[in-house]
């Protein structure tokens, strides 16, 4: 319990640090939301200056940071100049879409990676091992962008899958079952892109962890006792190999909000991705900072969850 509290405190300090750094960096970036107006000859300098002071952009940096932080604590995450409303609700509205996408992809990736990695590790040196290695290397080297475009082209050409978005038109009039099926059909493509991106990495880590444990002397000792394969795997090998996988799982959790930003933009998925991209282009910093801060918080929480799981899983950590 003390361990958990210490880690939590550590996370909060880290988050405050990240918020300061990202706020300062956003401020250092040239231009702001009103810079685009300066290109327009019809708008006077005085008017732009008035808009800036109205938005409070002329206040000193520490004051603006304090005001923003207070707004974050209230859940408003500052004021979005583009949407003329608090950034918090805008972000919250989009989080569900992103989580649906990344959550599905992450669960599928892990469910596939673990059996594949075990299979891989137990056939080291065989042709299946080499074939899997090659496939993983090719997938690792393929950018998500290319993968998404290829799949999109396939979807359009064949007409098997919708080529973008989360719902078909007229979704509201469908029954609950049909809505579910429609969303599922829309999920397939972006999930496939994310899955193909995650799988080779996860699969390789699982293979490495299992392979290392299979060579451990205590596994040989267990084999020497005539242990059945299944018991060897579940009682000796998996528990011993789980530590690096738990850390990786924490990272998976932590990237739930950030893994799919690019893919969302490509397939027009109504998640954080398009909102974030538009905000960056428009220099609508409240939304940019809000998304960055929430992603950072998710990453910290993911790592915290991993640490607590490790603490539970390994007696050697518990003793210290």
């Amino acid at each position: 319990m003390k361990y958990a509290l210490r880690r939590l405190l550590h996370g909060v300090v880290l988050l405050v640090g990240i918020s300061m750094a990202s706020f300062v960096f956003a401020d250092l970036a040239p231009g702001d939301y009103f810079s685009a107006l300066e290109q327009d000859g019809r708008v006077s300098r005085e008017l732009i200056g008035g808009l800036r002071s109205e938005a409070g952009l002329d206040r000193p940096l520490p004051v603006r940071y304090a005001a923003w932080l207070a707004s974050v604590v209230r859940g408003n995450f500052g004021y979005s100049l583009a949407y003329r409303t608090a950034a918090g609700p805008l972000i919250r509205e989009r989080i569900g879409g992103t989580l649906l996408l990344t959550g599905t992809a992450t669960i599928c990736a892990w469910l596939l990676a673990i059996p594949l990695g075990i299979y891989h590790a137990r056939r080291r040196g065989s042709w299946q091992d080499h074939a899997l290695k090659l496939a993983a290397a090719i997938l690792l080297a393929t950018p998500e962008l290319l993968l998404a475009i290829v799949l999109l082209v396939l979807a359009v050409q064949t007409g098997w899958l919708p080529a973008g978005g989360m719902h078909s038109t007229g979704w509201e009039s469908l029954s609950a079952v049909e809505r579910f099926r429609d969303t599922l059909r829309h999920l397939v493509l972006p999930v496939a892109v994310l899955l193909l991106g995650m799988l080779p990495v996860l699969q390789r880590h699982v293979r490495a962890a299992i392979a290392e444990t299979l060579d451990a002397p205590f596994v040989l000792a267990a084999r020497a006792q005539g242990i059945p394969q299944r018991r060897l795997l579940f009682r000796h090998v998996l528990p011993a190999a789980i530590n690096p996988l738990i850390s990786l799982f924490g990272f998976s959790l932590g990237s739930l909000l950030s893994a799919s930003l690019l893919v969302e933009v490509l397939v027009g998925w109504p998640g954080l991705g398009p909102l974030f991209l538009d905000a960056v282009i428009a220099r609508d910093f409240a939304i940019v900072l809000g998304v960055v801060l929430i992603s950072a918080a998710t990453l910290i929480v993911g790592n915290l969850v991993a640490d607590l799981l490790l603490y539970r899983a390994d007696p050697r950590i518990r003793i210290r």
């Binding site: 451990a216 002397p217 000792a221 006792q225 059945p228 000796h236 007696p315």
Partner: protein, 248 residues
């Protein structure tokens, strides 16, 4: 109890098929003959690559000999092996109880009270039962590895380089415990090492292995006093230098 020897090995051969077709198979063991009586200790000594570990693995049933005969006049699981680095052969997540009971669980044998009794045999207190493997000292882990082998009530224990790297005081301690166990349980030991000095105090008989063949065999005292084969002479010389080092 029968008067027949516990273990008789006749013409044991083991060769490994080559990975590449056409090239010759690698011969690891050639016509090995051995006899081991109940309660006796046999030392197998040879340079690295001489086939010691292969012999141990064949006897323990990890590997199938290519030809020859192994006659063991004992019970199933009567041969147990203590691996190299016994301390590392303990699952770090298991408690001492789980480690010692695991062979019983696997063989679906009665467990009640066995773990505590077996720990007592190797000189570990019953309070050690719930401690995790990583909480034991090096010597205690050594004892725990021996306890795991003893729990199936074997008649022959094979030690494959099990004491290499232990400090001399610890070797002395474990050696004393093993002699004590041998008398109480009438255990037979096979001590495998590249170092003659490590086995000469315990083994009544020693066989010298080189390139997969036994090149010399005899009672320990005779072998040390009058080594005949050049390999034996070399091993005896090395052991003497080491013990002189210890004396100075």
């Amino acid at each position: 109890m029968s008067d027949r020897p516990l273990l008789v090995v006749r013409n044991l051969c083991k060769s490994y098929r080559s990975r590449w077709r056409g090239s010759a198979a690698k011969v690891a063991l050639r016509d090995i003959d051995l006899t081991l009586e109940r309660g006796a200790t046999l030392g197998i000594v040879g340079p690295s690559g001489s086939g010691k570990s292969t012999l141990a693995r064949c006897l323990a049933g990890f590997e199938q000999p290519t030809s020859g005969e192994i006659r063991f006049d004992g019970r199933a699981f009567g041969i147990q092996m203590i691996l190299q680095q016994p301390a590392a052969s303990l699952n770090p997540r298991f408690t001492a109880r789980e480690i010692v009971e695991e062979p019983l669980v696997i063989q679906r044998l009665e467990r009640a009270g066995k773990a505590a009794r077996t720990l007592d045999l190797v000189g570990l207190p019953a309070t050690a039962l719930e401690r995790h493997a990583h909480q034991f000292s090096g010597g205690e882990r050594q004892r725990l590895a021996i306890a795991r082998a003893l729990v199936l009530e074997p008649e022959l224990l094979i030690f494959d380089e099990s004491f290499a790297g232990l400090d001399p005081a610890l070797q002395e301690q474990i050696g004393g415990m093993l002699r004590d166990l041998q008398q109480r349980l009438r255990l037979a030991y096979m001590l495998i090492s590249h170092d003659l000095g490590l086995v000469q105090d315990m083994a009544q008989e020693i066989a010298i292995l080189q390139n997969g063949s036994i090149v010399e065999r005899g009672p320990t005292r005779d072998l040390l006093a009058a080594p005949e084969h050049p390999v034996t002479r070399e091993l005896v010389g090395a052991a003497r230098v080491l013990s002189l080092d210890g004396a100075v």
